[in-house]
Amino acid sequence: MGARFDPAAGLGRRLLADPWFVTGASLSLFLVLLVVLSPWLSPHDPHDMGYAAFAPPSADHWLGVNDGGMDIFAELLAGLRNTLAFGLVTASAGLAIGILVGLASAWFRGVVDQVLMRVADLLLAIPAVMILILLASFYRPSPWVLALVLASLAWPTSARLIRSQALGLRTRPHIAAARQMGGSSAYIIGRHMMPELFPLYLIAFASKVRMAVFMEASLSFLGLFDPTRKSLGRMISDALPFYYLDVWWHWLLPPIVLLTLLIMAFTFLAVSLERFFDPRLRAAWAD
Amino acid sequence: MGRLSVQELSVTYRAENHRLTALDRVDLKLAPGRIVALVGESGSGKTTLGRALLGLLPASAAVSGQIRLDDLELSGLAETQWNDLRWRRVAMLFQDAAGSLNPVQRVRDQVAEPLRVHRGLTLTEARMQADGALAGIGLDPALGTRFPHEVSGGELQRALLAMAMILEPEFVVLDEPTAALDSGTKGAIGRWIRQAADAGTGMLLISHDLELAVALADEVHVLYLGQVIESLPGPALLNNPMHPYTLALSRSVAGLDTHRDLGGVRGDALYRVLHRHPAGTGETDEHAHLVGSAVSHAECHLPARGCLFTPRCTQAVAECSTREPALEECNGHRIRCLRGGIVTELRLQGVAKRYGDAHALHPVDLELRAGETFCLVGESGSGKTTLALMAAGMLEPDLGERVFRGRPMDSWPRQDRHFLARHIGVIQQHPARAVSHRLSVFDIVAEPLRIQQPRLGRDALRERVFAALRDVHLAREPEFLQRYPHELNLGALQRVCVARALVTEPSLLIADEPTSALDPGVQAKVLKRLLDLQIEKGLTMLLVTHDLGLARKVADRIGVMRAGRIVERGPAVRLLNHPEHPYTQELLRGSFRQPIAAPVR
């Protein structure tokens, strides 16, 4: 691929003129604010089971109370926090591995490249969800362990994306100059190659968060996490059996809406960044 | 066999706030067996014309004028009617051979496809014929079963040609058929095209490759910003251009048998755009302007009427931006120029000189056309210098008349001699004798300006002197400027003379052995600078030299002198490669160690 990454001047202004970017950014800002402000927004402990079950929304319980006597709004905020945290941790870890592998693969080429890329191919073919289900049901590890396992399964897409761009970068004169000056591989990768591809990381990060949030919601929906852990997916699966009752609009709907907003926010960010840096980089969408 | 012609064909592309004029009232006729070449820079509209012949213009194109195949009017045909004609009667080879075949289909199947669609052949029949066609153009039929990326560029181009000819169309449009090919393959494909034309196919050759056009075409049309600016018989293109643009183009070719250094066209390749400014930001009526790189918007507004080439023309006059030239007959060419093509800068008619009984110069005719370099070569005493001095107005002929820019030189009133002096720069043969020893370097170079433009301010004078010195790579330090000629070596002095000749920015430079005293390194730089001035300002040069090597590097035309006569003259390419006069042949043999290459064509 001949695409070049030259972080152009005035990029910020151009991004702010893109409705997709603005929508995605403001949505994610809104959701992050919800999480940060949750102690002030909801006074209730999401784990407190001491309220009247199935109570409709009131001034005290904005979204009412669920079947277990827990405040739904407090649950919702806690769930959002956990889901988002899972997404961010997975994406950061996955991206970090992806960057390292991608750059190393492009820089060293030869055997290193062959081996790393074959491993990436195979990981791409393994259904990550199956590994997670197996681990979760046997060992019931903490969500962070699962996040890291998911990250270690989900790096290949970004690694391949970064590698394909870094291959072109490798032959640029300033890299050759750094090499001639005696820079070590680690120095060149860290000081020169890594910063050059920055926009790629943004794209990869946004689409990875999206993927991880989706996975977390699905896994918790399937009941693979600790049942007491709050999560948007778990809330949906808890509320789903009662969909025929009137509680659906204040119990079932809010987590669905929040989850959709969360995934949408990162989708829009990824789409917008991708269009800016190179419309050909559809590969970022593999996540 | 029919005729394919376009009349008054105009194409404009609509974009958001402007319209791009790709073709402007172009007339063209294709006939069986003839190769018509269309040359021009990128953006001149060549490809648009080719595509128009197959109805392949994008939806944003507005077409007016006629495209006729025999008696059938093509413009305005419905897509299905076009499809009936395409490839069967008119085929096309697109630019970018590598991208012209579908990467996911085998070569043979793509070559065979028209047979299946137009003739309804079965797959096996079509494949057999395709194999035959591939073999016919010298390709291994096994190659047909490969995919396009498994085939080399030359083979791909041949396969495309085979595909274009598979239905034996009456006309073929070839868009850059040899771009990106090595010269061997290029030659083979060129010969094949010629054969196909001789067999009766009418060809439209679109190329920026003038050499190819010259080698193949029966007639050449030069396209500039959508207008045909010169139409000429093919072989005349490199030797006898009539339009200044064609001259500049012909100098841009790195041909094998040309020796002259590459020139170019002044300015930039441009597009021609019609647009309106949004309300409140200048002119709101639709107006034309040119788009090039790094030119500000205001600078490139085209005159509403007038010659399109004006901004890049070195001989434009006021009239050129007010009146539109028509395509008119001129010496067997048809050109679009108000000044009748390249103007004659200087014409000497029957000039002769005798000193006592000795004929220094027998009656001689010499014509210098604007922007060309004419080299007079010959041994010493052949009359070169005499002729040059007469051209410069420094020596009166006994007989004959001299006309500079349309005015007879000998009957000029005295006050007009400044005009002559300002427009003709002279570099004399012996630099040491050509300057006063009482003047400093600065004063020597400033002298012509002081004489001709006495009211020029001190700063302006300094600036122009410095510019002239810079042109010839001389120092501008005060210490150097105050030196006197005897303190300079011959090389520096000769460069001072060149600077003096150029300081008035003349349009005609007459130079008698201008670089004889220079080191090779400096000589190269000075000559390069002179050639640059020629591109930028249209400088005409009459160069006297005994150095054939120099002549072949700079000359457009060469005149060989012997005993007061010009024994042979002609375009440098022709004269150096195929000398006709025995004396020229002798001269050439003396100059080159190895024999002259055998004629190419």
């Binding site: 074959r118 191919d121 195979l122 791409l124 073919a125 393994i126 259904p127 990550a128 969800v129 199956m130 590994i131 289900i133 197996l134 049901s137 046997f138 391949r160 394909s164 989706f214 996975m215 699905s218 896994l219 929906f221 399937l222 009941g223 693979l224 969909y243 659906w248 079932l252 669905i256 989850l259 959709t260 995934i263 949408m264 926010a265 989708t267 419309p279 559809r282 590969a283 969408w285 593999a286 | 595509r51 392949l56 499809n83 009936d84 004609l85 395409r86 490839w87 069967r88 697109f94 012209s100 075949l101 579908n102 990467p103 996911v104 289909q105 028209p114 669609v117 995919f147 990326h149 498994e150």
Partner: protein, 322 residues
Amino acid sequence: MLTWRGHLLAYLLTALVMVYLSYRLPGWLPGDFVTAMYADSHVVLGAEQEAALRERLQVDGGFGSYLLALARLDWGTSHAFRVPVSDLILNALPWTLLLMGGAHLLATMLGFVAGVEAAWRRGGRIERTSVGGMTVLQGVPEIGTGVLLLMVFAYHLGWLPAGGGATLYVDHGFAERALDVLRHLALPLATLLLAWFPGNFLLARASMVLVLGQSFLDTARAKGLPPIRVRYAHAARNVLLPMATRFGLRFAFMVTGALVVETIFSYPGLGTLLFNAIGARDLPLIQGIVLFSSLAVLGINLVLESVYARLDPRVRVYGRAL
């Protein structure tokens, strides 16, 4: 680049690793694995069962005999259902194949055609709105669409059944039976379609737009080919590779969505089976389903590897474009 045989070898090795993992995992559980496995399971083991289980897990003939047992379809016994795991999987499989296969087929074909046609009409208002709409739709997860569709069409409008794969205990003729299955299929299928179609559409459109700028299409048009042939035989064929590549890259993640959708609609496929197994901590069943679906996904990817080169001969030379 690996040859086809190289791919086969690599995939076989991966499959072996997966099988080995599933074989070793129970042994790595802390403490007495039987107690650990069933400590907080809903399943109450009878003493007899526990003894049988211990025997089965301890009479360990090594990895080789485990493999043999797998090949003989001896995948263990579900404790919640007290039926062989293989029976459960084979019963659920047709439903999953029907749902996922149908959704993939429709999403890919519709996405391809719609994307190609949209790119062909690029610049128009319909194209712009559809690209915008599909981008938005791409941000809606299966859970969201599934639950909303369930509520609107099954509960509020009551047009379609809320769950299951077919109406049970009713004696239908073939046509009625087929219609019944289709009615049950409609909602989960629509959910998956909404989730998968936008990505396919956007990719097909973007790839097609790139293809449309290439000169072989000029050649194709100049040959006087009928428009439909230019569009599909020449242009759209080049869109197949990116679409297949995306399918391969995303397939492993799409499985997750299918699991969720089956669960939402209690569709009697592998997803619901897995959900129930997880709920009951029915470990042999979980293990069986995970292993089975992993191998199936690997198999499909292996098939895809051979398809890439057929779709675009350049892959053989340059390797799959990312």
